[in-house]
Every structure is written in structure tokens, then in C-alpha cells.
């Protein structure tokens, strides 16, 4: 089920009212309801993969129980106990990563394997499978893994409440495209009764409205132009390709941060607090700052569970650089089974390392210039991210930096106008977000005293969503 669909418009009020008025007799009942509606939400896309998420949830929960049982057994010595716990945690991690790897990377590895051998003149005959990628698998798998690892590291007590755990993994607002929540934040909220806080709920609705605006008005309209430009890049001028790249930067931002806003806002309606996932990344002053603001939940996951265990920055320079490259490569790989994503991760990793080696940007550079330069580097990376192949990305960039970069950008037919209208709404969004850059989300107008201004802006956004929203299209991050 998409957030931007009629089905969700009907689903949400029914679930909301049932949650607070019918199923609020006990925490367990309410959690059971959450699991039920979350599975309904997920199953609306494809019911076959409900078993997969249930499987992941069950074995992750079981791993926690197993680790606890071993720790409580006083018979074994400490070393043996630790080894057994490691086996259980490791086993669950490997199992989940194998599942993820199969669904996401099987064909990619087979094809890459065959290509590598063909370079050496050896022809291999293999078969690829038509494997459907379950929506949200990367997100809920990482979420479940975080539980196992936190239990193993004794950061979290394992839960015996299987219903609460299933609710944690499958909580529908953040199930298919994040934020990737930690058990230490989200699971614990399912242990205790939720309280309806009116102001939070109002805030949540505001955040959802902002999310819908970014997704439906900005991202979906940018997508029309971006698809045209990237699909026909050989026929367009450098300036048009630049415009296409910039629009994609805002398409992916509007799409992904919009989804996160809708997810966080929806969760607030149910008395659940999710972590902020985007913090105005295009206002970043450098690449390091960008990665503290973009897809925060994934980046902190890699930092906590990969970077720090590898030694983080508390090792020699060479190992520090290695650790940075590893997490960026993994981040790229996480996004999908294509060399473009790996290339994108590597690109950002190299930028990150360069900035570190230059000991950051300590010059007295104007803020706007820093933001513009950072945005330019990030946008270059997005070209690689969006392209179908690495060679296409290089061809795109080469064509972009040609003499036609100085021409007036022009796409085909009505897309010229869609580009203009999209740029207008992007400018509006940036103004609002700049004004509220110290708030959790762009449309947090709690500080605006004038009720007329607040409600006028809400009406403008609502009417824009209705009249200027494009037809529903999938969220980009559903493919991850």
C-alpha cells in the first residue's frame, strides 16, 4: 500500500480510531493490532512475502531468547558461553544477510561473475533467476539485525514479548522505507501503554502534510523531467543535463525525505516516536556534514555496527581510511545490485577521505558558497546513482561538461513547463525549510504566531497537493 493512495487515505483513519478506541484495553492487544494492520499494509503489495518478514522477525526474536538462555545458564565457563552467544548472534546475522543477499544480489553477482570471466576470455553458462525483490527487505532486515547485535552486546535486554517484537519489526509507518529504527528506541515503546498526546498528533499531521507535498508535488513532477533527460541524455545539451541532475537531486530528496516525514508523522498519531532521518541535507557545509544529515538512520547503523567495531577512527590512518571506504561501499551496495550504487558509495567515500585528509574546511568561506559546492559534489554523485550503468554516468557527465553547458536548458514539449513549475515548488520548499532549519521538519510552524499565515500556508500546500500532484508513482526507495 502506498502512502499516496486512496487506500491509505481510507486505511489510516480506520486504523487510528480502532487503535485508540477499540484495541486500547491492553498493551498486548494494541500491539497485536499493530502487527495485524502492519501485515495488512505490507501484504497489500504482495502477500507472499509476509512469510519472509515473519520468518526474519521470528528468528531474530528467537536469537535474543537463545542468547539470554545461554547467559543465564551457569554451567558453562565464560569463554564457552561467549562462544555460544557469538554462534547464535552470528548465525542469525548470517541467515538474515543470506536471505537479503539472495533476493537482492543473486543475479547481480552471477552476472558480474560471468562478466569478469568473459574479460579473461572464458565463457560461463549460468542461469539467472527472476527474483522479485520484496519491498522493504533492506530496511526491516537491518532493523531486526540491530536487535540481535544490541542483545549480544548487552545494550538491550532480550524481549520475551514476541508480539511486541513483531510490532517493532513490522510497524507499518516505517516498514518499507525506514527510518531504520533501533530496538533501544522503538521496541521499548511497545512495552508500555501509549499515550495520545494531542499536540504530538497535530505535529504528526503537519509533518505528514509536508511529506506528501515533497513526494507528490516535488518528487513526482521532477521525475517526469528526470526520466526524459536521463532516458535521452545523448540528445540534450549540457545545460539540460545539468538541470536533469539537479532535478533528480530534489526528486530523490523529496521522495525519500517525504516518505520519512510521512512515516514519522504517522507514527506520532499512534503515540510512537521515530528518529529523525533527514536534517536538511542540502544545507550541508561539506560532505561530512551531508552524511550527518542524509539518511541518518542508515548511516548511524553502519557507524555503530560496522565502522566502530572495525576500530572507527581509533586506529592508524590507513585503517581509518579503510574503515571509511568499507562503510561507504557497503552503503552503496545496500542501495542496490548495480555497480552504479557501489560507484556512488565509493565516490562519497573518496570525497569524505579527501576532506578528512585536508582536515576539513577551515577557511573563512561564505556559508552559501560552502553549501553550493557541497550540493554540486552531491549532485555529481546522484548522476552515478541514477544512471543505469557506470559508462552511462560517465557519458552523461562528459556531455554535461561540454560547450553546450552555456545554452538555455530545453527538454521536450511540456516537460519544459513541468521543469519550470517543479523549480518553483523546489524554491518554495527550500525557503520554508531554510526558515525552519532548526526544527525537526520543514513545516513545523509552531513558532509562527499568526494563525492566518499558518492556515493559509497549510491550505496552499493542500491545494497544491490536490491540483499539482502528479499521478501516484512508487517511492524510489521501495526498490531498496
Amino acid at each position: 500500500m502506498l502512502f499516496n493512495s486512496i487506500e491509505f487515505l481510507v486505511f489510516l483513519p480506520i486504523v487510528f480510531l480502532s487503535y485508540w478506541f477499540l484495541f486500547n484495553r491492553s498493551v498486548k492487544l494494541q500491539n497485536l493490532f499493530v502487527v495485524g494492520v502492519s501485515y495488512l499494509f505490507y501484504g497489500w503489495w504482495d502477500g507472499r512475502f509476509l512469510l519472509l518478514i515473519a520468518f526474519t522477525s521470528f528468528f531474530s526474536w528467537l536469537s535474543g531468547i537463545g542468547i539470554e538462555k545461554i547467559r543465564n545458564t551457569s554451567e558453562d565457563n565464560l569463554k564457552s558461553m561467549r562462544l555460544k552467544c557469538r554462534w547464535i548472534a552470528g548465525g542469525n546475522i548470517v541467515l538474515n544477510l543470506l536471505i537479503l543477499g539472495f533476493f537482492k544480489y543473486y543475479n547481480f553477482f552471477i552476472e558480474s561473475f560471468v562478466s569478469a570471466f568473459s574479460l579473461a576470455g572464458i565463457t560461463l553458462h549460468t542461469s539467472t533467476l527472476y527474483v522479485i525483490l520484496p519491498v522493504g527487505i533492506s530496511f526491516y532486515t537491518f532493523q531486526a539485525l540491530s536487535y540481535t547485535i544490541d542483545v549480544y552486546r548487552k545494550r538491550l535486554e532480550p524481549t520475551h514479548d514476541i508480539v511486541a517484537f513483531f510490532a517493532f519489526v513490522s510497524f507499518f509507518p516505517q516498514l518499507v522505507a525506514g527510518p531504520i529504527e533501533r530496538a533501544t528506541n522503538l521496541l521499548v515503546q511497545f512495552y508500555k501503554p501509549r499515550t495520545f498526546i494531542y499536540d504530538n498528533a497535530v505535529d504528526g499531521v503537519r509533518q505528514m502534510l509536508w511529506g506528501f507535498f515533497k513526494k507528490i508535488v516535488i518528487a513526482d513532477n521532477c521525475a517526469l523531467v528526470v526520466n526524459d533527460v536521463f532516458g535521452n541524455y545523448g540528445h540534450y545539451s549540457g545545460s539540460t543535463l545539468l538541470m536533469g541532475a539537479i532535478l533528480f537531486a530534489f526528486q530523490i530528496y523529496g521522495d525519500f525525505s517525504g516518505y520519512s516525514d510521512i512515516a514519522i508523522g504517522t507514527a506520532k498519531l499512534f503515540g510512537v516516536n521515530l528518529k529523525q532521518n533527514f536534517r536538511y541535507p542540502y544545507f550541508s557545509l561539506n560532505i561530512i556534514d551531508f552524511w550527518r544529515r542524509w539518511h541518518i538512520s542508515l548511516n548511524t547503523w553502519f557507524v555503530d555496527y560496522v565502522y566502530i567495531p572495525l576500530g572507527g577512527n581509533r586506529v592508524g590512518r590507513f585503517k581509518h581510511i579503510r574503515n571509511i571506504l568499507i562503510i561507504f561501499l557497503l552503503s552503496g551496495l545496500w542501495h542496490g545490485a548495480n555497480w552504479t550504487f557501489i560507484g556512488w558509495g565509493l565516490y562519497h567515500g573518496l570525497l569524505f577521505i579527501c576532506l578528512l585528509l585536508l582536515k576539513g574546511n577551515k577557511q573563512q568561506t561564505p556559508r552559501l558558497l560552502k553549501m553550493s559546492v557541497t550540493f554540486a559534489f552531491v549532485t555529481l554523485g546522484w548522476i552515478l546513482f541514477r544512471s543505469e550503468t557506470v559508462s552511462m554516468a560517465f557519458a552523461y557527465i562528459t556531455d554535461m561538461f561540454s560547450s553546450s553547458l552555456l545554452k538555455v536548458p530545453k527538454v521536450s514539449g511540456i516537460n519544459n513547463v513541468i521543469a519550470l513549475i517543479s523549480l518553483f515548488f523546489i524554491a518554495l520548499m527550500l525557503c520554508i525549510e531554510w526558515k525552519n532549519r532548526d526544527k525537526l521538519f520543514g513545516l513545523d510552524l509552531s513558532a509562527v504566531r499568526s494563525i492566518w499565515i499558518r492556515y493559509s500556508l497549510y491550505m496552499v500546500i493542500l491545494v497544491s497537493i490536490y491540483f499539482f500532484g502528479n499521478n501516484s508513482s512508487d517511492f524510489i526507495y521501495f526498490q531498496f
Binding site: F21, N232, H235, I414, N416, I418
Partner: protein, 323 residues
């Protein structure tokens, strides 16, 4: 702790407000749709023209945008015997099935109906794009019983709740603004051609758009339209029923096989020939003017639309070969 009574009332009020707002916006949409320019305004022109008893065309042309740019009504008026009044009732996306919706509304003055046909359409099930259906609804089209017999498959597709049509038309503000801006920015557009022109509603001033031509051709080359070509029985039935209907009205019904750009090489010559032969064989009783291979690449504005040179060639052939 669940919401208090007051909070619950506020929540209900909010839900009612949202539903009310959607209802109001939905209600207002048709008025905006009819007031703002849009790419389907020709549907309004066609319906209005057919309803106006003062309009007495002798020859009418039906078809999609290829018919709009491909047949010059002025030239037909000038060169056809008797200098008939020619109306081009072509419109964007108008397939034969949509044209058939207008047949029974044709005035008694009509003697000849020229129906432009893209033969690749005949291998796909009869359908109508949503924007075309929306336009028909918005401009007040109503299907009569006789039309329902000619195009039964469209009857169900058109019989949908007005709420749905209004919802689908909600982008009218966007497209209206787009068209206004496009008319300002694009100097290749003939303004008002779509909305008002009844003889030769081509909307382009130039004969070729170099920026889009190759790109459009590449796009067309991705799709082989004539591989394993077969005519869907529904189309056969529709065209035969239409022919019989016009026979009863003593109106000449003639199909014009619209040209195919030779730069589109996704189909082989043999595949195209086979398709064309099948069409001629299937509709051998219906008068037909074959323009399929008439034009050269230079006669096209983009991959599929004839330019003024192409329109001249097509129109001349029509004048020459019309029975």
C-alpha cells in the same frame, strides 16, 4: 491513554474537514477544467460543432493528432469536386473507437466521412486513454443507444462515477498553466489551433523539430508494432458496423491508412507489408486510401506526425483516390 472527548471531536472535525475539502476541490475541478486551456479542448470543439445545427459540413475527418497535422482541410475544400465544406473533427489521442462515438451525431449535410487509421492500433484491444474519457465527460458527451451498439466495449468504460472523472481531471490547473507557459515560451506553437481550428488544426509552425526528432525515432525503434500482427475481432466488428451504419445514411465512409515514418526501423519491411495486406484483406469492403508508405522521413515533424509537406502529399492522395 486514549484521546479525550474534546480531542476526539477535534479529530472527527479534522477528518470531516479533509473529506469536505476533497469534495469541494473535486466539485470545483470541472469548472476549472472547462475554463482553463488543456490539450483535449478539441473534444469540446467537436461536441459543440456537432450540436450546432447551423454547422453543415459536407466532409468530416476523424482521427488523432496525426490526422490533425496530416490532412489539410483547406486544400480539400479548394480542390475537391464541388468545393465541399470540410471539417477536421480530429483530436489528440482520438482512436477509431472514439471517433465512432461521434458518428450518430453527424448532421445530415455530411456526405463523406474520412476516418484516419493507424493500423498498429488495430492489433490492440479497444480502449480509451483516461484523459480522453475525462474530456468527453467534462464537455458533456452522452452516448446514445445506437452508438452503444457500434462501440459496446466503450460503454462500460465511459459509465463511471463523476467523482472519479473529477479526480482524474484534477491536474487541469497544472496543465492549464503549462499550456499558457508553453504558448509563451515555445515559438513553434500555433496558438488556438487546437481549440478553434476546424479545417487544418496543425499546431506547429515549422516542418521539423531537430531536438526531438532523433530522440523520438529512437524511442519508436524500441517497439516493434508489427511483429505477429493480428487484427482484434472487436476492431473488425467496429469498422464493419460503422461502414454499414454510414451506408444506411448514404454517407461514404473511407478509411485513410496513415503513413509510417521510414526512419522507424523496428519492424522489417515484410512485417509492415504483411500487416498492411491483412488490413486490406480484412476490410476489403470498405473504401480505403493507402498512405502507409507515402511519406519520406523529411515529411515528418517528429517521429510520427506529418509536417506541412507530408500533409500536402496525404491530402493530394486523398483527393486523387477518393471514390
Amino acid at each position: 491513554m486514549k484521546p479525550t472527548r474534546k480531542q476526539f471531536n477535534n479529530i472527527i472535525c479534522f477528518i470531516v474537514f479533509i473529506l469536505g475539502l476533497i469534495y469541494i476541490l473535486n466539485f470545483v475541478t470541472p469548472y476549472l477544467y472547462r475554463w482553463l486551456p488543456n490539450d483535449y479542448i478539441r473534444t469540446h470543439l467537436i461536441i459543440e460543432t456537432l450540436a450546432d445545427t447551423a454547422q453543415t459540413p459536407d466532409v468530416v475527418i476523424f482521427g488523432n493528432s496525426r490526422g490533425m497535422s496530416g490532412i489539410n482541410g483547406y486544400m480539400l475544400e479548394e480542390k475537391m469536386k464541388g468545393n465541399p465544406t470540410v471539417y477536421s473533427l480530429t483530436s489528440t489521442g482520438q482512436q477509431v473507437s472514439e471517433s465512432a462515438l461521434y458518428y450518430t451525431s453527424l448532421p445530415s449535410s455530411v456526405k463523406v466521412v474520412l476516418q484516419c487509421v493507424d493500423i498498429d492500433q488495430l492489433s490492440k484491444p479497444i480502449d480509451m486513454d483516461t484523459p480522453n474519457r475525462v474530456a468527453l465527460h467534462m464537455y458533456g458527451y452522452e452516448m446514445d443507444a445506437l452508438t452503444e451498439k457500434i462501440v459496446p466495449s466503450l460503454s462500460e468504460k465511459l459509465d463511471i462515477s463523476p467523482f472519479y472523472y473529477n479526480y482524474e481531471a484534477r491536474n487541469c490547473l497544472f496543465t492549464g498553466l503549462s499550456i499558457v507557459l508553453r504558448n509563451l515560451l515555445d515559438d513553434d506553437v500555433i496558438q488556438d489551433a487546437t481549440a478553434k481550428e476546424l479545417r487544418y488544426p496543425t499546431s506547429k509552425t515549422s516542418d521539423r523539430n531537430d531536438i526531438t526528432y532523433q530522440r523520438d525515432v529512437d524511442e519508436q525503434n524500441l517497439n516493434n508494432k508489427f511483429v505477429d500482427y493480428e487484427i482484434i475481432p472487436e476492431w473488425k466488428q467496429l469498422l464493419e458496423d460503422s461502414y454499414l451504419y454510414f451506408q444506411k445514411r448514404d454517407i461514404m465512409y473511407c478509411l485513410i491508412i496513415m503513413p509510417y515514418n521510414p526512419d522507424i526501423k523496428s519492424s522489417t519491411f515484410q512485417e509492415k507489408q504483411n500487416a498492411l495486406e491483412l488490413v486490406k484483406e480484412t476490410f476489403q469492403n470498405i473504401p480505403m486510401i493507402d498512405c502507409f508508405s507515402l511519406l519520406e522521413a523529411s515529411d515528418f515533424y517528429d517521429a510520427i506526425h506529418p509536417n506541412s509537406k507530408g500533409a500536402k502529399k496525404i491530402t493530394e492522395r486523398v483527393i486523387l483516390q477518393l471514390p
